[in-house]
Amino acid sequence: MSNNKTKVLIVEDEKPIRNFISTILTTNGYKALTAKNGEEAFTMINSHMPEVILLDLGLPDIDGIRVIEQVRERSSIPIIVISARTFEREKVEALDIGADDYITKPFGSSELMARIRTALRHSHKILTKDLGGRTVFSTNNLKIDFESRRVTVEGREVHLTQIEYRLLAILAKYVGRVLTYDFIIQNIWGTTSDRNSQQLLRVNMANIRRKIEKNPGSPKYLLTEIGVGYRLADLDE
């Protein structure tokens, strides 16, 4: 039955890391494929057509960013970047160039599995053209009705400004995934990101948080990824 298993490609040059990720994937019912450099990665992608790619950006032969670019020229396979916490710029670049998400080294198995599930869900939505077709979004007690533009938390209606609603809507569209400042600013204001627009974005996010969160200092839904962007927590998995 191994043919029915979801195939996940691990592109990572460090053998111990490849080993433990493979083990985690296999025990969780995935089929793990491995590549230790960019060249092997392309061969594996072409011959095995994996459904998710886990990509370490520091590869010995080519820059991980170039791998994302080349994969994106031909396909929309979800790519999850594996990156260290202090390399914020690297993550943002990878996300802006087409990576779907990132996971910060070091990570545990539950975190990795959650990321893979989110990535798979999104890719299925794209395949079935489900994205945007839904009229109601909900995660835990937060509901967004895209038709009437109504947002409720625990049944209580929340009044958002136009911009706040659009921000929440775009985060809901990509629920579970981190969206970079640049991506959000491009989509909402149509301008390139600079200091002022980032400040405007942050203030708007803080205001949304005050309206939908019980405690804005310890948010449940609207999460900040320092130096990268925002994520709407996927609480229904």
């Binding site: 202090t86 996010m205 405690n215 310890s218």
Partner: protein, 363 residues
């Protein structure tokens, strides 16, 4: 213009002016005294304004000769037999020499004083540089000692636990195995935090010991740190309290995130399992204060002076197991807060818990 040419020009202009003035005075019938006084004045001025004795002496010679030549009978002819002539000449010459000498002395003293000031300043700066370098060297050594000391312990337990599991094989009970695996996880988490602390310090500019600040929303940084921390295995509950108003503080968010993580980690490790941790934010007029409070057992008074120093734990011997000192977490917090021109301190009540606070300036 070279100095000599300048001096020549000054001399020429002043002498011409004196001659014209004297001629005019003479033509309106003033006494001959005015002429010699005018020349003396000019000689004094020239001596004062030029370098060396030469121009002053030249001017006095010229003054005496021209007074004789132009202004005394027979006009436009020299007459060296006039009464008082050698006397006038001597007075002018003496005046010029004395003034020139004084001027030279004054100039030399001024130069010396300037040179002295510069030398003092240079040596002062050198002194500061040396002090800074020694300070840096000292900190680096402390840090290295703390790191190598603190690295060995977790590495030993990781290696030990891993080999124990491998060699023990089937003979180990599931419970023992899990205990060893928990140790490996815990020790590696500790190592990771240490590496992240070290990396964060590299964000601080080595020359200025400052960070580049960007306006950030304070509650976002707290929220990110708390949620990051909550994913780790902790036993205590964490509550967060932020004011209703939005507080924007200039900071390096990654570094303040690290400070909060360290303080949370510290509170979680040293306050006991049943304690509650509370993170709060308060805004003042010119600074904001973050605090991480626990109601655990508190810190022994004698350890407080060493909390924020690299490699200076009080109990150097008691580092084998859980009490490996406070590691480099709190000293890193201090380094980061100092680089933000803020302050960090601890309020401690033995038996009732401790509260770490740090403030960041708003401007």
């Amino acid at each position: 213009m070279p100095e000599k040419a300048q001096d020549f020009l000054k001399t020429a202009i002043l002498l011409s002016a004196a001659s014209v003035f004297a001629y005019y005075a003479k033509s309106v019938g003033e006494a001959t005294d005015v002429i010699s006084v005018t020349y003396i004045l000019v000689v004094v001025l020239i001596s004062r304004m030029t370098n060396g004795y030469m121009w002053g002496i030249l001017a006095s010679v010229f003054g005496v000769l021209s007074a004789n030549f132009i202004f005394t009978a027979p006009y436009f002819e020299f007459n060296f037999t006039l009464t008082g002539y050698p006397f006038t000449f001597c007075v002018m010459l003496a005046a010029s020499i004395i003034i020139s000498a004084l001027t030279q002395k004054y100039k030399k003293q001024k130069e010396e004083a300037e040179e002295m000031t510069q030398k003092l300043q240079e040596s002062y700066q050198k002194q500061i540089q040396i002090e800074r370098a020694t300070e840096k060297e000292k900190m680096k050594n402390h840090l290295l000692r703390a790191i190598s000391h603190d690295l060995r312990t977790p590495l030993t337990s990781i290696k030990g636990a891993a080999t124990a599991i491998k060699e023990g094989g089937d003979k180990l009970t599931l419970q023992t195995r899990n205990k060893l695996l928990d140790d490996i996880t815990g020790e590696s988490e500790w190592l990771i935090r240490m590496v992240e602390n070290l990396l964060s310090v590299t964000h601080i500019s080595e020359d200025t010991m400052k960070v580049s600040k960007v306006p950030e929303i304070a509650e976002e940084v707290i929220a990110a740190a708390v949620s990051h921390f909550n994913t780790a295995n902790i036993r205590q509950s964490i509550t967060v309290e932020v004011p209703d108003e939005l507080i924007i503080v200039p900071m390096d968010a990654m570094l303040i995130h690290q400070v909060l993580l360290n303080l949370l980690d510290n509170a979680s490790k040293h306050s006991g399992d049943s304690s509650e941790i509370k993170v709060s934010l308060t805004a003042g007029n010119d600074c904001v204060t973050f605090s991480v409070r626990d109601n655990g057992r508190g810190i022994p008074e004698e350890e407080i002076p060493y909390l924020f120093e690299y490699g200076e734990t009080k109990n150097q011997t008691n580092t084998v197991d859980t009490n490996r000192g406070f590691g480099i977490g709190l000293p890193t917090c201090k380094t980061i807060i100092m680089a933000h021109e803020g302050e960090i301190w601890v309020q401690n009540e033995p038996g009732k818990g401790s509260c770490f606070r740090f403030s960041l300036p708003l401007e």
